[in-house]
Each structure stands twice: as C-alpha cells, then as structure tokens.
Symmetry: C2
Subunit: 433 residues, 2 copies
C-alpha cells in the first residue's frame, strides 16, 4: 500500500474524517509513519495532526521543518496549537515560535505562560463577545458581517461583556434565534454563569463542566476580564484522561497510553518496581524475625502468603473507591466519619467470612485446630487493617497535598504485607510454640 | 439547622444551582436526607432529583407516592426520567407508569424497552427536526412560533430530515444564525453526520463523541428513522462512569461510588475476595510441594514472597494499560504484534534490573552466591511472564467476549503467584540441594 502509490493512498483517505486519518496513522508502526504521512500529502491537514496521540504527533512533528510546523499552527485554534507546541523540545519550540506571525506568536507565548494542565492551556482565545447594551439585531448583523475566517468555527454560546470586558452573562444561540430583533441582549442572556479562572487546574474545570452540564465556559484573568473560552469537547478528553491517569498511577504504569516510547515506559515502571522491591524486602524482614518459628512449623510458610495476599486485595478495593471519590470531590470533611464507619462494618463482615473459610480449611487440612484459629484471627485482623489503610492512607495523603493516586498503593501494600506476616507469625509463635 | 426551621433551609438553598442542592443532600447521612428533602419543599425540584447519585435518589424516591414521582417525571426530558424509573422496583415502576399521562407513559415504556446502557436509554426524544426543503427564514419562524414548553430547553444543532423522517444532515445554530433568510437549509447543513443506532452500547457512543468532538448526535432506529438525540453533557458522565467502572472492576470494588449501600458493597467485594482466596490457596499448594526444600533452607521462606509480589506488580502495570486500551479501541488486531514485542522488551529490561538488585542483595546477605543467582533467575523469569500475562490475558478475554476489566486480575495474579513460587522454589530445589 505504501510503496510509491501516493495517489491511491490519498484516494483511500479522501472520504475519511480527520480523526479517522489520525487513527490510521497511529495503527502503523512508528518506522512506517513518516512514509505514510508523506504519501498522504494534503490529506495530512492541520486538523489531522491535532487529532493524533501526543507521542505519535511528537515523532512526526520532529521531522518537519519549523516553517511547516508554524503554518500548521496558524490554522488551528489556540488550544490545539498549544497542545502541539508544549510537547516540543525547547530548541524546536523557539524555532517554531520565530517562524510564526507576531500575533500568533504572542497568543501562543501567553498560553504557554500558564501552568501545564491549567485552564489557560485548555482555552481557546477565539470566541464571540458582545457588549451588553446591544440588541438581538445588532448581534445577528455582527455575526453575518464578520469574515468566516475571523470567527471561531464552533460556538454555541456568546459571551456578553461590560465596558471593562468583564463577562456579565451568557447568551445561548437557541435563545438568540428565537428572540425578535429589537430584544435587548441584557433581557435574554443568562446572568448565572460559571466563570473559570485562567489558572484553575483542568481536573477542577472538568468537575464544574460535569456538575453544571456546561457546553462552554468563559475563562477570566486575575482582574476578572474575559480572556478565552473552554468548550465541552476538550473537557470530554480531560475527564477520560484524568480518570485513566489515576488508574495508571495507582499501578505505577506509564502516564501515556499504548503509543508511549519504550524508554519512557521502562523509566516510569522501573521506578515503581524498585519502590515495591523495598516494601517486599520490608515484609521479608518481618518473616526473617520469625524464621525459628517457621523452621519448627513448616505449615506457616505454606499459609502465610494467603494472609498477606487477601489483605492486599481487600485494601485495593477500598483504595480504588477512595482515590476516585477524592478526585471527584465526593469524599469531603462532612462524610468522612460516616464512610469510616461503613468501611469498618464492611471489613468486619467480609473479614469474618473469609477468616471462617480459611480457618476451617487450614485446621482440617493440617489436622491442627489451633492453627486454624491462628490463621482465622490473623486474617480477620489484616482485613480490618486493610479496610482502614485503604481509606485513611489516601485521605491523609490528600490532606497533605500529595496526589493519593501516585503514592497510596506503596503505603497500603506495605501495611497489609507487613501486618499480615506479623499478625500470623506473631500469633503462631505465641500460641503454637 | 434541620429541626423545624424550614423557611431558613429554603432561604439558604435559594441561590444554589440544582446540582449544588443535590450535592448538599448527598453530604447528609442517609437517615437525615428525608427530613432535609421535606424541609426543602419546592426547592427540591425535578431537576434537583435528576442530579442526584443513583443510590441516594433511589432511597428518596422510594419514600414518595407514585403520583408525586409521576409529576416529577413529566417535567423532565426523557433521558433523565428514564434514569429515575429504571432504578425502581418492578412494583413501584408499574405504579408510577400508571400515574403518568398516556403520552409520557408511552415514551418512557419505549425507552425502557431498549437494553440498559444503550443509546435508547441515553437519548432524549425532545429535539428539533426540520424538512430539508425549508429555507432559513422558515426555520427561524418555526422556532419563534413554537411554545417554549414544546421545545427542548437545550439544543445546539437542528436535525434535517427527508419525507420518511430519515436524517439527511445537521444544521449548526451558528451557521443558521449567520445565513440570510432565503438561504436553503440544504445548502448550509452538514451532510457528514454521525448517526447512532438506538441499540448501540453507551461506551461505543461515548467513543464516537470523543473521536469526532460531537456536541449532539441523531439516534436512529432499525429503519434509519430519527427517533431521538444524545447530547454531550450526558456523554461526559458516561465517559467518567465507564473509566471508573473499569478501574473498580479490576480491583473487585463495588460498581457504584461512595453512596452504595453496605449490603451491596459487602456482596460485591466478598465475591471477589472468595475468588482471590482460591487463587491464594492455589499458590500455597505450589509452596506445599516444596516444603521439604524450605525446611532445609529457611531463607527460601523469607525470600519467596518477594518474587511473587514483584511479578504481581509488574503484571498489574501492563494490565492497567491493556484493559483501558481495549476499552477505548486503541489496541487492535493490527498493532497487537507490535505491542507484544514492546512489552517483552520492557519486561526484559526491568526484569534484568530488578533481578540484579535482589540477586546481589540476597547473595551477600545470606552469604550464599548461588542463592542470589537462583532468586535473580526466578525474578527475571517471573517479570517476563508477568508482562506477557498482563497483556495477553486481557486480550484473550476480550476476544472471547468476556469483559477483561472484570476477570483479568484473577487470572493474572494467579499466574504470577504460582509461577513466582514455582520458578524460585523449583530452581532452588534443583540447584541448591
């Protein structure tokens, strides 16, 4: 398909949506992508580039001369352009910015001045704002008169501003359409609006969009002036990205998805494995303390991983719910107490059930009832500790302003491993020897 | 706050958004919620009820007489009404449906006829559709003439249909606004549109919205007739819900969030813990086979959990990425081969690094170089197996049409536990005895 026959490639790609062409490129091996991109010619539009995965795009953009990248950027909305530029090396970034027109450069530099993952990076500067003393006819004439190129392509709401460019209301297009021409804008705009400060974290922005079912929102600077807008299509990506990020962080997997580079994957996962090696060694030290006991009752060596493993599983269940409840602001000061009581109750019920099962099985299999009692007691204790650890460790990390998704598992796993071995082997030493 | 002083409660709630009132109710303990709801009076509008968490809403709605529930439903869009009705017991559902007007009942019954989590449940039937031979002026006059109550409150796109009610295009309000009155609709509508079949799974619908940055989409029945529309604000919830669901399923946590009932949490988690008890026992059986070896070299009992634990961690990293890549259609037949090669490479690099660390440490600490070699070899082997298991088990489950998020961890954990103990104790028996 790819060898030489460029015309055929372009014919095949012609009926496809930009997002589909981007997907197609991602499905090819990294080494084949530049050839495919070249064969696509004009089909590889700025919009296709904007649709690609960060990693795939980075590789492709690195191959293009700065002037070409600059011309791609100038055709995109600010938010899409920023997404491309922010991933470039500093050198390349400078070269590309130099190749832009002064206006585009200023817009991009301002956006890059905001922190990563903030509203300022997510917003587009192209929006429609009208003075509050206009009437419906003036707004419609303004929209009709404007050059198509000057208007942002997609908008569903018009922002109404006062003389100092502070947003005072939002005008839905559906309301605008249905009002007679002489109607005052001030009479049909919605005064209740959700303003997004330019430095707000994107996760917080996404929560507001979800909560108030927003379609777009005005972004304001420190002086409350309108500086941009965020639209819901970008928020859909943020919602998915933030949920996936929490998920991957809890397991120490790479931040990016399938297209992340091998080198980056190794670095991110290895760091996590080394930390886990540390916690595994800590658990082994506990076992080492009781090696005399194990030498006398070898059944302990056979049974001890069960206590640690079930504790780990129980803790992970609670932790998964807690981390997401914290991320979505569902777990607050006022319901923490109630949640602790509920977790304790769940842990007690499940702990008793699992303890009974393993206690009877072990007691019967090893023909040693007291061994069954010991493992049952240790199991119950560890599952209760697991429930508390899975809930309290993320909460405490969150209070200390540490991302619970990144660091909870280490502490939680260490707690259930160490306590599992300590309870089981300690009880066995006290009761069985 | 809650005792008697209803007026004060209503005053405090007055300036709040519906979503904030819903949040407020959720923050109270389940036993206090009915009193608070009663105190809120008219502030507890149908929209507030629609905004609540499923579990919280269910409890409250259960307390209301069917007639009241019916009057709440009649004020909501079909999608919100369905969300409330689908959670009711069969008895209550029938009583509520009987209390509705014939029109509303027919609409709800039809929606309930579609499978759960399908486009049919998610869509609203209130939408604006116009014939393709109209011009801009006719559309605007139609919108202005319609009673406000007859139009859905929020719409950003108008669907254009042919004589048989098949959608033929989409008209953005921004395009409508900017076109002169005599312009033919057929000339300014977008012909390229994403149609959603009524029985499509909501996860698939969400992927299309994300991919094509849609704001709303037409839902069609088997005969390709327009039957409803889905808007992006509902999709934002689906995206988050589906990502969170995968996350919780992998850990065996409950499907709902913080407000799930204790009884349901216990049931869901306990099932998972019992399965995990089974896999933990399987691993113990492997240890039991080698109990003679352990009796002779007690260091093996101390070190063996490290091999199993690191394998489990490495597998979970790969599994987290794979499960989400499958859910979002990023992992396909054409890039599976490449992904396997990449995972193998990552596993080999990380395996060698971790094996070297633990091998040297164990060899030095126990003053037994050969023991160091054995644990290093077992660790390397288990991390490579972990990488393959974390990738291939979810893929195989997905091919067999089993949700990989639900079942992957069981198989993956069992593989790394069993193989960890088998490799380490097996090698030790062969080499050290």
């Amino acid at each position: 398909l790819e060898e030489g026959d460029e015309q055929r490639v372009q014919e095949l790609a012609e009926p496809l949506h930009n997002a589909d062409i981007a997907d197609l490129i991602e499905q090819f091996a990294p080494s084949e992508r530049p050839d495919l991109a070249a064969a696509l010619g004009d089909q590889l539009s700025p919009e296709v580039i904007a649709e690609m995965d960060d990693e795939v795009r980075e590789d492709l953009v690195d191959l293009l001369p700065p002037e070409v990248v600059a011309s791609v950027l100038s055709e995109l909305d600010t938010d899409d352009a920023v997404a491309i530029v922010e991933d470039l090396d500093e050198e390349d970034q400078k070269a590309v910015l130099r190749a832009l027109t002064a206006d585009d450069r200023a817009a991009l530099e301002e956006a890059l001045g905001y922190p990563e993952e903030s509203a300022g990076r997510l917003m587009q500067r192209d929006l429609i704002a009208v003075p509050q003393d206009w009437d419906v006819g003036q707004v419609i004439d303004f929209l009709r008169a404007a050059e198509t190129d000057d208007l942002t392509e997609e908008f569903w709401e018009i922002f109404v501003v006062d003389a100092r460019h502070h947003p005072v209301g939002t005008l839905k297009l559906s309301h605008l359409l249905r009002a007679p021409r002489p109607t005052k804008i001030a009479d049909i705009m919605l005064r209740e609006q959700t303003l997004v400060p330019v430095d707000m974290d994107q996760e917080e922005v996404a929560l507001r969009f979800q909560k108030y079912a927003l379609i777009s929102a005005a972004v304001v600077d420190d002086a409350e002036r309108l500086v941009g807008m965020i639209t819901v299509d970008d928020i859909v990506h943020v919602v998915r990205q933030e949920a996936d990020e929490d998920f991957r962080r809890l397991t120490g997997a790479e931040e990016g998805g399938l297209n992340e580079r091998t080198r980056d994957i190794v670095r991110q996962r290895l760091r996590w494995l080394v930390i886990n090696l540390g916690t595994a060694v800590a658990a082994s030290i506990v076992i080492g303390v009781f090696s005399d006991t194990i030498e006398q009752i070898i059944a302990l060596a056979i049974l001890m991983p069960i206590v640690a493993s079930l504790g780990g599983n129980a803790a992970t269940q609670t932790m998964a719910v807690t981390v997401r409840a914290l991320a979505t602001d569902e777990l607050t000061v006022s319901n923490t107490g109630r949640t602790i009581v509920k977790e304790l109750r769940v842990a007690l019920i499940n702990g008793v059930a699992i303890a009974a099962l393993i206690g009877i099985a072990a007691g019967v299999y090893f023909a040693q009832p007291l061994l069954g009692v010991v493992i049952a007691a240790a199991m119950l204790g560890n599952i209760v500790i697991a429930g508390l650890a899975g809930l309290l460790i993320p909460i405490l990390l969150d209070r200390a302003d540490i991302d619970p998704a990144i660091s909870s598992s280490v502490f939680v796993t260490m707690t259930t491993d160490v306590m599992g071995f300590l309870l089981f082997l300690g009880l066995a030493t006290a009761v069985l020897l």
